[in-house]
C-alpha cells in the first residue's frame, strides 16, 4: 500500500515513512544503505523495480527523484511505500516540480538514512561530472549508464575525464561476465598475446570498455569491431601461434575456441538491469580497475600501451586511424560518427539489459521538447 502526499516537504515524508513503519509493526529493519535514483518519468518505473530487486539482497531505503522542471510554482509530491511485498525496505518517489526540479539536494538530504552509505544512480541523462552533481556529492557511489546516453561513446569519453573514485557505469558492469570468462580462459597455459579485438553492436560502450580493459591488462593494442549484436558478440586474442576466441551470438551461451585446441561452451547470458544494479551494490569502494580502464581509453584504443603514456587527450579519430595493420579489418571505435547512430532500439526492446531505460527516439524528442 502506498501513501500519497501532494504539495509536501521532506519532513512530512519522513513522518509518513515512520507512520507506515509503525503501522506494520516494523521498526527500523537493519537497512544498510540509501539508494537514490535520479531519473525521469520514462525510466522511473523500470529503475525502481530493479532497485527493489537489489534491495532484497541489500536492504535499503530507495529514494526516486523525478525532476519535473517547468514554469509553475515549486511543488513536491511524494509517494511512500514501506515493507512492500516486493521488498523489505522503503521506497519514496518524489516528484520535484517547477523550480524545485533544480534543488534536488534540498529534498534528498533530509531523507538519507543516518550513517550508512549513499548510492546514487542516474538510469539516463547522468550529469557530466557525477561527483560534482548536487546529489552526486552526497554519495559514496555514483552509477551512470553510458548505454542510455544519446551518444554512448561520446558519453564514455566524457567519463574518462569526469572520473572520481566511487564512480561506476553500468556499461562497465555489463562487461563483468565477459571479463570473468576471458580471465578463466587465460588461467590455462597459452601463448603470448599480441593483439585483441572486441566485436560488438555499433555504439556499444561495453565493447569499448572491454577493449580498453584488455589493452590495459595485456599491454597489447586492442580495437573494437562492429557486429550485429546483440551487445558484445566476441573477443579474439591473437597470439603468435593462432587465436583464442570467445564468441556469443545469441546473447546467452558463449563458445571459447583456440586455433590449436578444444572448443568449449560457457554460459554468458546478458543480464537484466536488476542484476547489474545488484552487482553494483555489492561493493561500495572505489573501482580501481574501472579507473584504470578509463585511463587506458583516454590514451586511445589500438595503441600499444607502453608508448603513448604522455597522451592525455581522449580518443581522437586521427589517432585511432593509425591503427597497426595487425588489426586490419577492425574499425577503430572513435571513427564512427555518433550522429549515424543506428536504430538499436529494435534489439533493446527484446533484451531488457541492452539499454534499460532508453526511450525511443520519438519519445525522447518529445521529452526534450517538454523540458
Amino acid at each position: 500500500m502506498s501513501m500519497l502526499l501532494e504539495g509536501t516537504n521532506a519532513s512530512a515524508v519522513n513522518a509518513a515513512i515512520s507512520v507506515e513503519r509503525h503501522r506494520l509493526g516494523a521498526t527500523s529493519t537493519g537497512m544498510v544503505l540509501t539508494f537514490v535514483i535520479v531519473t525521469d518519468e520514462l525510466s522511473q518505473s523500470e529503475a525502481t523495480r530493479a532497485a527493489t530487486f537489489a534491495a532484497n539482497q541489500h536492504p535499503c531505503r530507495i529514494i526516486v527523484v523525478i525532476p519535473r522542471p517547468g514554469r509553475g510554482k515549486p511543488q513536491l509530491d511524494a509517494e511512500v511505500w514501506v515493507g512492500d511485498r516486493e521488498g523489505p525496505g522503503e521506497t519514496v518517489k518524489l516528484r520535484l516540480k517547477g523550480p524545485l526540479a533544480r534543488q534536488q539536494a534540498s529534498v534528498v538530504l533530509p531523507l538519507l538514512l543516518p550513517d550508512t552509505p549513499v548510492v546514487v544512480w542516474w538510469p539516463a541523462d547522468a550529469p557530466a561530472v557525477p561527483a560534482d552533481d548536487q546529489v552526486g556529492r552526497m554519495a559514496n557511489r555514483r552509477i551512470t549508464d553510458a548505454s542510455t546516453a544519446r551518444r554512448p561513446l561520446a558519453d564514455l569519453t566524457g567519463r574518462t575525464t569526469s572520473y572520481h573514485p566511487g564512480d561506476t557505469d553500468l556499461a562497465w558492469t555489463r562487461t563483468t561476465p565477459w571479463r570473468s570468462v576471458l580471465a578463466t580462459a587465460l588461467d590455462e597455459p597459452h601463448e603470448q598475446i599480441i593483439a585483441a579485438t572486441v566485436s560488438g553492436e555499433r555504439n556499444n560502450p561495453s565493447a569499448t570498455l572491454l577493449a580498453a580493459w584488455l589493452q590495459a591488462r595485456l599491454k597489447v593494442p586492442a580495437v573494437v569491431k562492429n557486429s550485429r549484436g546483440p551487445g558484445i558478440t566476441g573477443v579474439v586474442l591473437k597470439t603468435k601461434n593462432g587465436d583464442i576466441g570467445l564468441s556469443r551470438h545469441d546473447g546467452r551461451l558463449a563458445e571459447l575456441t583456440r586455433t590449436h585446441g578444444l572448443s568449449r561452451k560457457a554460459p554468458l547470458p546478458r543480464r537484466e538491469l536488476r542484476e547489474l544494479v545488484s552487482e553494483e551494490l555489492r561493493r561500495l569502494d572505489a573501482d580501481e580497475i574501472y579507473a584504470e580502464t578509463l585511463a587506458e581509453l583516454a590514451k586511445g584504443l589500438g595503441e600499444p600501451a607502453r608508448k603513448s603514456r604522455s597522451a592525455k587527450a581522449p580518443v581522437r579519430s586521427s589517432k585511432v586511424a593509425a591503427t597497426p595493420a595487425s588489426t586490419a579489418g577492425a574499425k577503430p571505435i572513435a571513427k564512427r560518427s555518433p550522429a549515424t547512430r543506428p536504430a538499436r532500439r529494435k534489439v533493446a526492446a527484446k533484451d531488457p539489459s541492452a539499454s534499460p531505460a532508453q526511450p525511443t527516439t520519438a519519445t525522447k524528442a518529445k521529452r526534450k521538447a517538454s523540458k
Binding site: 536492504p59 523489505p88 588461467d187
Partner: protein
C-alpha cells in the same frame, strides 16, 4: 612454446571478477546416494550456472550401476532439476553434461579403478582438465579405507608437478578417537594434509563466516567477549524431524557423535577462539586447536551431561512415532537422539564461563544458534519491581533458519512508570535464502576446487574433538539408558535440571 605464467587479466583489486575454479575433474563416489542427488549434483549445477566452474570442468560418477555416460547424465539431470536453486538452463546443462562420464563398478574392483584412471586421463586430453582431480567420497564411511587404498594402488592419488589431487570426505569422521585416528592415518598415508578436505557444511554457512567478521572487524563486541561480562554460552542445533529413513546410519551413532563432535564443537571453537594473526586457514586452525586443547570436562558427568530419546508425541500439530518405534530401530536401542553437555574452557578469557551444547531430533522447531548470554548488571538503580521482567542481555548468532544476528537488551516500557523489560533487535543482511547467495555445499565445493580451505577442519581438530567427546560417550555407555522426552518438546526434563543445578535455564531458541 612460450607459455605465459601469470594471468594478466587477474588482479586482486578486481573485486568484481568471481573466483572461478581452474580446470579440473571431480570424481563423485556414491553418486546414487541421497547426499549426491539432493545436494552435490544440484550444487555443482548451480556453480556452473553462476559461471564459477571453468568450461573445462568434468564430472565423473562412480557407482555399482550398469550405466552408460548418457544414463548418468540423464539421472543427474533429474536430480538437478528437482533440487537446483538457480533456474535450469539447457545451455548450461549441455555444457556441463558434455563433460560428464560414468564409471561402473564396486569400490573393491581393480578393473573399475583402472577404468577410472583411463577416463580421467582421457578427460585431461579431450576436456583439458590438466591432471587436476578431486575425489569426493560421498559413501558410507566403512568404505573409506577401500576406496582410498584403491586410489593409491591404481596410481590415481599421485599427481605430476603442476597438477593437484584432492580428496573430500564427509562426516562422520570416525565414531571415536581410535577410529578417527585410523581413518586419518589411512587418508594421510595417501594424501598430504593440505589435500584432504573434511566437509562440515555448517562452516560453509554465511552466518558462521560472519561470526568471525562480527567478532574481529568490530570494536564493540570483543571487549565484552570474556568471563568478565559473559555469563555463559549456549550452542543449539535442534531438528524437528525424526531419523526418517536413516535408521541404519543413525542407530548406534546418535546425536552427540552426529552433531556435537563436529558441528557444535566447531561452532564453539569459532565463538571462543582468540583473534587469528591473519584470516588464513593455518592461523584459524591454530586458534581453534588452542580452544580444543583448553576444554575441560565436568568432573561429574552424570550431573552435567544429559542424553535423551524421543517418545511418541505431537510435533507441530502432527502425531509422530517415538524413536524406538521407528522402522529399523531395535526396541532396546540406547542411541541418543538428544544430547546436552556442559564444557568449560581453561583460559584467562573463559575460565568460569560454561558452554552448554545441545542437539536433538524431534525438538520444538528447527533452529541452530549460538547465544552468548551476558551477566546481569552488578547493580540496578531501579526498584526490584521495575526490573522484574528484565532478563540477561544476549547476543545471538542465528545460523538457521533466518540467518542473522539478534541482540537482546532491556528497555523502558513507554509510560509514566519506570518499567524495564527485554526487547530484541534483529539484523539480517538481506535475503540470505534467495538464489542470490550460494548454498553451503556450493561454497564448500568451490573452496575445494580453488584449494582455499579457510574453514575445513583438519586431522588434528577431529582427533581433539573426539578426545573431548569420548569420556562422555564412555560414561553414557556404562551408565543406564537415555532419558525420554516427548517428541515436539525441548528435550528431557533432565536437561532443564542440568542447567538448574548451575542456577541457569535454557533460552527458548
Amino acid at each position: 612454446m612460450a607459455v605465459q605464467q601469470t594471468n594478466p587479466l587477474r588482479d586482486l583489486n578486481d573485486r568484481r571478477l568471481p573466483r572461478v575454479a581452474g580446470p579440473c575433474a571431480l570424481v563423485l563416489f556414491g553418486v546414487t546416494g541421497d547426499l549426491s542427488r539432493k545436494k552435490l549434483l544440484p550444487a555443482i549445477y548451480d556453480l556452473a550456472n553462476r559461471g564459477l566452474l571453468p568450461p573445462t570442468f568434468a564430472l565423473v560418477g562412480f557407482a555399482r550401476r550398469d550405466w552408460a555416460d548418457q544414463d548418468f547424465a540423464q539421472i543427474a539431470e533429474e536430480s538437478v532439476r528437482a533440487h537446483c536453486r538457480t533456474p535450469f538452463h539447457e545451455d548450461v546443462w549441455e555444457q556441463l553434461s558434455s563433460g560428464m562420464r560414468f564409471v561402473a563398478g564396486s569400490f573393491d574392483s581393480d578393473e573399475a579403478f583402472i577404468e577410472l584412471a583411463h577416463v580421467l586421463s582421457d578427460l585431461d586430453r579431450v576436456r583439458g582438465t590438466n591432471g587436476n582431480h578431486a575425489f569426493y567420497l560421498s559413501i558410507p564411511p566403512g568404505f573409506f579405507p577401500t576406496v582410498i587404498d584403491k586410489l593409491r594402488t591404481s596410481g590415481l592419488s599421485a599427481n605430476d608437478a603442476g597438477s593437484w589431487r584432492r580428496v573430500i570426505v564427509e562426516k562422520p569422521f570416525g565414531h571415536d578417537l581410535k577410529s578417527a585416528q585410523e581413518l586419518n592415518k589411512i587418508v594421510d598415508d595417501v594424501f598430504p594434509p593440505g589435500s584432504v578436505f573434511r566437509i562440515d557444511h555448517y562452516l560453509g554457512k554465511e552466518t558462521v563466516q560472519n561470526l568471525l567478521a562480527v567478532r574481529f572487524a568490530n570494536t564493540m563486541f570483543e571487549p565484552i567477549w570474556n568471563n568478565k561480562y559473559v555469563d555463559h554460552v549456549e550452542i543449539t542445533m535442534a531438528e524437528d524431524i525424526g531419523i526418517g529413513s536413516r535408521a541404519g546410519y543413525y542407530d548406534g551413532i546418535g546425536a552427540a557423535r552426529d552433531v556435537i563432535q563436529n558441528h557444535l564443537l566447531q561452532l564453539l571453537a569459532l565463538t571462543a577462539m582468540e583473534e587469528p594473526v591473519s584470516f588464513n586457514a593455518e592461523q584459524i586452525r591454530l586458534e581453534k586447536e588452542k580452544v580444543f586443547s583448553a576444554i575441560k570436562l565436568p568432573t561429574d558427568l552424570s550431573r552435567h551431561t544429559v542424553r535423551g530419546q524421543y517418545s511418541a508425541g505431537w510435533q507441530g500439530g502432527e502425531p509422530v512415532k517415538g524413536f524406538l518405534e521407528e522402522d529399523g530401530i531395535p526396541k532396546t536401542s540406547k542411541t541418543d537422539t538428544f544430547a546436552a553437555i556442559k564444557l568449560e574452557i581453561d583460559s584467562r578469557r573463559w575460565a568460569g564461563v560454561p558452554f552448554y551444547l545441545r542437539t536433538g531430533k524431534r525438538l520444538g522447531r528447527r533452529v541452530t544458534e549460538i547465544a552468548v548470554v551476558f551477566k546481569r548488571a552488578p547493580h540496578l538503580p531501579f526498584s526490584a519491581t521495575d526490573t522484574e521482567e528484565l532478563g540477561s542481555n544476549a547476543l545471538v548468532i542465528r545460523v538457521q533458519p533466518d540467518e542473522g544476528i539478534t541482540i537482546k537488551f532491556g528497555s523502558k516500557v513507554p509510560g509514566t512508570q519506570m518499567e524495564v523489560r527485554d526487547v530484541t533487535m534483529d539484523f539480517a543482511y538481506g535475503d540470505s535464502f534467495t538464489e542470490s547467495s550460494p548454498e553451503a555445499y556450493e561454497r564448500l565445493i568451490l573452496d575445494v576446487l580453488l584449494g582455499e580451505p579457510p574453514l575445513f577442519p583438519r586431522h588434528r581438530e577431529v582427533e581433539m574433538s573426539w578426545e573431548i567427546l569420548d569420556p562422555i560417550l564412555n560414561h553414557w555407555a556404562t551408565h543406564g539408558r537415555p532419558d525420554t522426552y516427548e517428541a515436539g518438546t525441548w528435550g528431557p526434563p533432565e536437561a532443564d535440571e542440568m542447567l538448574a543445578r548451575d542456577g541457569r535455564e535454557w533460552r527458548r531458541p
